[in-house]
Structures are given as structure tokens and as C-alpha cells.
Symmetry: C2
Subunit: 341 residues, 2 copies
DNA sequence: CGGCCAATTGAAAGCGCTTTGGATGGCCGG
DNA sequence: CCGGCCATCCAAAGCGCTTTCAATTGGCCG
């Protein structure tokens, strides 16, 4: 059933039917009701393309996530982020179009996404320190919001980010207050902006406390369980092993814990661990008592907010770039304690 | 730049340009090259809606994943599945449209997805034992592939599934061969088809070995780390604690391991654990030596295959339902050993 | 040399919707 | 009784592409 058929059926013109359904004022209320009833009865849904063609609105948002050789995985936070974003889209009738692109042809994909005109806006995931995608998107005049920032890009753009620097600074401060001096960082890949900032916060706190950052106590890589295990195992067999770890993700923290337990060290007593916790649905940090002391910020919330920002920008294309900084909370769990001896 | 402009620019008609770009044979090769060059030079990309309107093809696939109150999370396997599917879509120029729906209005969403006509096919995730969505989709005459099956639905439809029953049967057999008699199962929610099948395999193997399945040694729930920890902790303090565990996911297995280590039990020596391993990118089961003995099947592969099946069905709408059963491999790791004493 | 065919290109009619620019008719004040 | 103003409704022109049908060429055969 299409507009015309519905109109014929009602003895009205397509014009009136269209207006009735889209809430235009110049149609009699009685007519509108009649049209709406008929539409429901015949299960009429406007054809999305025809609508798109006619209005120039895509009613769909592109989420682009890069998949490279060195970073093959779809980051697990992505699922939660999207869940949040979806909440916003569903309310407003937008679709979510997912595009995984390999680094190589990324630029091309953006250009074609934008040119094909079937997208009203883009959410960019996983920005690097210096991310050329941002420049590119700015030239495309397509509204976009970055999930994260690119430290080295000084231009103005919309983003939503967790205060990574501050979070890791606070976590480090807590460990220092507990008397730890040899603190290790097991970070994500540091060409990723979030990881870079986390290290900055970590290092800043150390320096402020008069502790020399030890490169041997910093490791970065794809945030797997294995990374945590390996990094911790290596570091623990150094002559002066760390007494505390900072982990960039729960999964990595689990690996660190495995390394500890493997050598008979007790978590929170012999060695302290603080992790960042994205509050993912399937990897909760305990339900009542947190397992790990953690800096926590819900990535799902971030997703919802990012989507709302983008929709806002689509509604009002002239609005200035929106920027949202989310502070992580520092929650105390059972994985931290005073430095031993 | 649109078709007409490009055509004017070239001194050709839109017809010819369209044909040249879409590989129709009735255009002179020299012209085709000229057109293609111009298209590239001007960065021309056809407008997706206009194309959709004209051809009736959406060039996009819907992935629908249910999000309910009791099952709020976007399952982590989903990310990997989609990565695989994307590989197939990118090659063929399809888009991936993601829809998270809450159980309540799920039927409605399908209907409208189909009616709006902006989708060529659907991939259905997370089927329940008796899943009415399958019936619904069949009436919508929109090609679809189910990731998993619905045991209680006897109708014919396309699916791709891992042989859950067989996988857990084999894992159980292995444990029995190792001398274990008290084997526990920590499963996913058993209204989900995959979990139901896993239990069936588990129970079948027990019975065949003359072991009475003990309901106290079976636990089901959202597959979190916490579930593993709680289930294992509870079971281990029973008078006759299990000597082996079967886990439905790596994350759960990590929780079980935590419970073991918490009470000083050694993995693989005091207590054996076998888990199912979806071979997720960010949760590898060790790189060289597997941490856990596991039944393994790549969910990413499944995603790619599912997408290919669906594209196949779209190409040839009359083809019979396609069905693919993937066997998991049983890989030996360090988490299993002979039953103690 | 005329006609037929293959090769190549165009004109124009949609696809289903929105939206501009009228129509139409009832009602008002003058 | 008439011009003007609303309130409603409609015709028709797109939106950018595909595709059917037709036109134009040049080559080749008889």
C-alpha cells in the first residue's frame, strides 16, 4: 500500500494524505483522523526512499568504526555504546547504519557515505591522537560527533569524551596515598587518544608526587586478557616489582589478576589493582561490592548522549560544535590496599 | 554532483551515463571509460535513495537484536558476528542497518522495517526456544537468516548455527573420560536456544555414562563473570563439590576461575574447567597455549557465512531455505586434568 | 544502391513521496 | 450583494536514478 493507493481509497489527494500524516496544520482535524485510521488499518508505512528523495533527510545515522590489521577486533565497548545511542534513535525514528572500514579505504568510505546522501550524520569511533578523519569530515559538511577526542587536532568539532587524564590521575593519586611507589600501567594502544591521555594523567600524578616514571612499568597494547597477564607476569619478575597496577580495561585487569594469583600474590593485599570500568553490561565489576577499585563511567550513557548531541546538530545545522566531558567516578573495591612492607 | 550534471558535463544523456556506470553492455567501451573517469574525477556517487526508489533494491541488510529487561546487554559476541558479516557486505556494497528492539514492540518493528521497504533482508539474533519472530518474518516475505535455531519451531527457515549439543556433549565426554563424575554446568539463560541445546548435550553425555544429572550442579543466567563466580562459589561449598565445570562463555569461565583461586584450588589440577570459546577478538583463549580447554567456533566466521547466505537468498529469492551447521573444535588447554583422588 | 542489422545513444516515463502554487467554497464586513 | 479572507483541498512539479522504447548511425549483403 502506497500513498497514492491510500489516497484513492480515501477519495482524497496524495497531497492531503501526506499532510495529514505528517502533522501539517492545513488539514481538517476530522480528515486527519480519518486518514490516520485508514493508514493504520491498511498498515501503511511510507517508503523510506521516496521520503528520503523528496525531503533530503536520510533519517539514519552512520556509525563508523575502523578495523585494522593491528586492531582487528571490534572493541567490546562498542556494543554498549551503540545500545545507548539506539535508545536515542528509536525515540526519534532514526536508523543506525553501521560501517566497519579498514583503515586503508576509510577516507573513501566517508566521502561516499556522505555523497550517497543516505546519512544525516556520523558518529566517529576510536579517534587517534592525530586523526585525519576529523579534518575530512569537516570538509564534508555532514554533522558528526566524535566519541573521544584527538589531542593533536586543534580544530573545533563536536565530541563527547570521558576525562581520561583526570580519571587516571586520580587513580594514581589514590595508589600513591596508599603508599605505593612502584606503580605499573597496562594501557591500551597509545596511538589511540584515550590511552595517550590516560598515560598523561598517570605520569602527571607520579611526577607531582616526586616519583620518576619508569618506562619498564608501562605497557601498552590491544586490551586483551592476555595483555594483562603477560605485562603483569613480566613486570612481577623484575628485581623491584610493582606493588600496584593500573589497567585500562576490565578484561586486562582480569589478566593481571590471573598473573598475580599464578604466583600466589593476593589481590588488594600483596598487590593493588585499579582498572577503568566502562560499566559494560556483560562485564560488571561485581554487583553489590565491586571486585576492582575502579574509575567508572558508563559507555552506554556516553552513547546515548553522543546520539542526542548529533540529533541536536541535525535539527539545528548552524549550531556551534557541542562538547561534553564526562567525569569518571572513582569507586572503591576490594582490589586496593596499603603498599606492603 | 548528480547523474544529470555529470551527463551534461560529458555531453551525454543520463541514460548513457547510468548504463556506463552500471556495466550495461550496450555502451561503447571508449564512452564507458570516459564516463568512469569523469565520475571519479568529480567524485560522483549515485544517490542511494534515488537508486533505491528506481530499482526497488535497498542495498542494506537489517540486523535486529533484542534488548529486554532481563537481558539488557548487547551480547559481546555480537560485535564479532557483525565484523564477519560486514566483510561480506562491504564486498557487495550492502549497508548494515542495526536495530535494537525491546521485546515488547519487536513485532511492530519488523513489520515496519519490511513495509518501509528499506531493507533487503534480515538477520535475526538470539533466537529463543520457541521464537514467534520466525513465524512473523516468514509472513513478511523478506529473506532472513537466523543466527541460531529455535528448537520448538518446526517450520523450515534459513539458519546458521553452531552444533551446541554436540559441542557440549563432547566436552562432557572428555571430562568423564578424565574420571570426573561430579560435573557442573554454568550455562546461559536457558530460554535461549543455544543454552538449551548445550544443556541437552551435557545431560545426554552424563546419562550415557550412567551419571545422574544433578540439578544442583546446573546453573543458568546471563553470562557474566559474576555468574561464573557465584555459581562456582556456591557449588564448591556443597558437601560433594564438583570436580569439573562446563562454562558457556569465556567470561563466565573467568569468573569460575576466580572462585577457584579464591579458595586455593588450582585450575586443571584440583578442578577442571571447559568453556565454550567464541573466538572473540578481544577475549582470546591464550595465543599460543590455550588457557582453557574449550570448544571453539569462530562467531566471526559465522557472521560472514550468515551474511553470504542471506545475500545468496536475495539474489535468488526462490531458493530453498539454507541451513548451515558449524561444528566446534575441541581444543585442549591447561584447564583440564584427571579427576583428583 | 537500397535495405536490414548491430551498435550506440537518447527521450521520457516512472519509482513514492513532499511541497509549491493555485483552486474552491463558505463566511464575514461593508 | 460583493470583495476579501480563511479553511481545505488538489494538481503538478520535482527529488535522482533506472529502464523501456525509439532514434540515429554506419556497415554489410544482395
Amino acid at each position: 500500500m502506497n500513498l497514492k493507493e491510500l489516497a484513492d481509497h480515501l477519495g482524497l489527494s496524495p497531497t492531503t494524505v501526506s499532510r495529514a500524516l505528517n502533522g501539517y496544520p492545513e488539514v481538517k482535524e476530522a480528515t486527519r483522523l480519518r486518514v490516520q485510521a485508514a493508514a493504520r488499518a491498511h498498515n501503511y508505512t511510507p517508503n523510506a526512499w521516496a521520503k528520503g528523495l523528496a525531503t533530503g533527510r536520510a533519517m539514519s545515522i552512520g556509525h563508523v568504526i575502523p578495523v585494522s590489521k593491528t586492531h582487528e577486533m571490534v572493541n567490546p565497548v562498542f556494543g554498549d555504546f551503540i545500545t545507548g545511542a539506539s535508545e536515542a534513535y528509536v525515540k526519534t525514528g532514526y536508523d543506525l547504519k553501521l560501517t566497519l572500514v579498514s583503515d586503508a579505504d576509510e577516507a573513501e568510505r566517508y566521502r561516499s557515505l556522505s555523497a550517497r546522501g543516505n546519512i544525516d550524520g556520523i558518529i566517529l569511533h576510536g579517534p587517534h591522537l592525530s586523526d585525519r578523519r576529523i579534518e575530512l569530515l569537516r570538509t564534508l559538511d555532514l554533522p558528526f560527533v566524535v566519541h573521544g577526542r584527538a589531542s593533536e587536532m586543534k580544530m573545533d568539532y563536536s565530541w563527547i569524551d570521558m576525562n581520561n587524564t583526570r580519571a587516571f590521575e586520580r587513580a594514581t593519586e589514590l595508589l600513591i596515598e596508599l603508599g605505593h611507589r612502584r606503580i605499573a600501567l597496562v594501557n591500551g594502544q597509545e596511538h589511540m587518544d584515550f590511552a595517550f591521555r590516560r598515560r598523561e594523567g598517570f605520569v602527571a600524578a607520579l611526577i607531582r608526587a616526586g616519583i620518576d616514571p619508569d618506562p619498564g612499568l608501562m605497557r601498552a597494547g590491544e586490551m586483551t586478557e592476555e595483555l594483562g597477564y603477560r605485562a603483569a607476569s613480566d613486570m612481577l619478575q623484575r628485581p623491584y616489582p610493582p606493588t600496584a597496577f593500573l589497567a585500562s580495561s576490565m578484561v586486562t585487569a582480569l589478566g593481571i589478576r590471573r598473573a598475580l594469583e599464578g604466583r600466589g600474590l593476593r589481590l588488594g593485599t600483596d598487590v593493588s589493582v585499579i582498572t577503568h570500568d566502562d560499566d559494560l553490561g556483560y562485564l560488571r565489576n561485581g554487583t553489590d561490592v565491586p571486585i576492582f577499585t575502579a574509575t567508572r563511567a558508563s559507555v552506554r550513557d556516553a552513547g546515548r548522549q553522543a546520539a542526542e548531541m548529533l540529533l541536536q546538530m541535525i535539527r539545528d545545522p548552524s549550531c556551534a560544535p557541542l562538547q561534553t566531558l564526562i567525569e569518571a567516578e572513582l569507586i572503591l573495591g576490594q582490589s586496593t590496599g596499603p603498599a606492603p612492607g
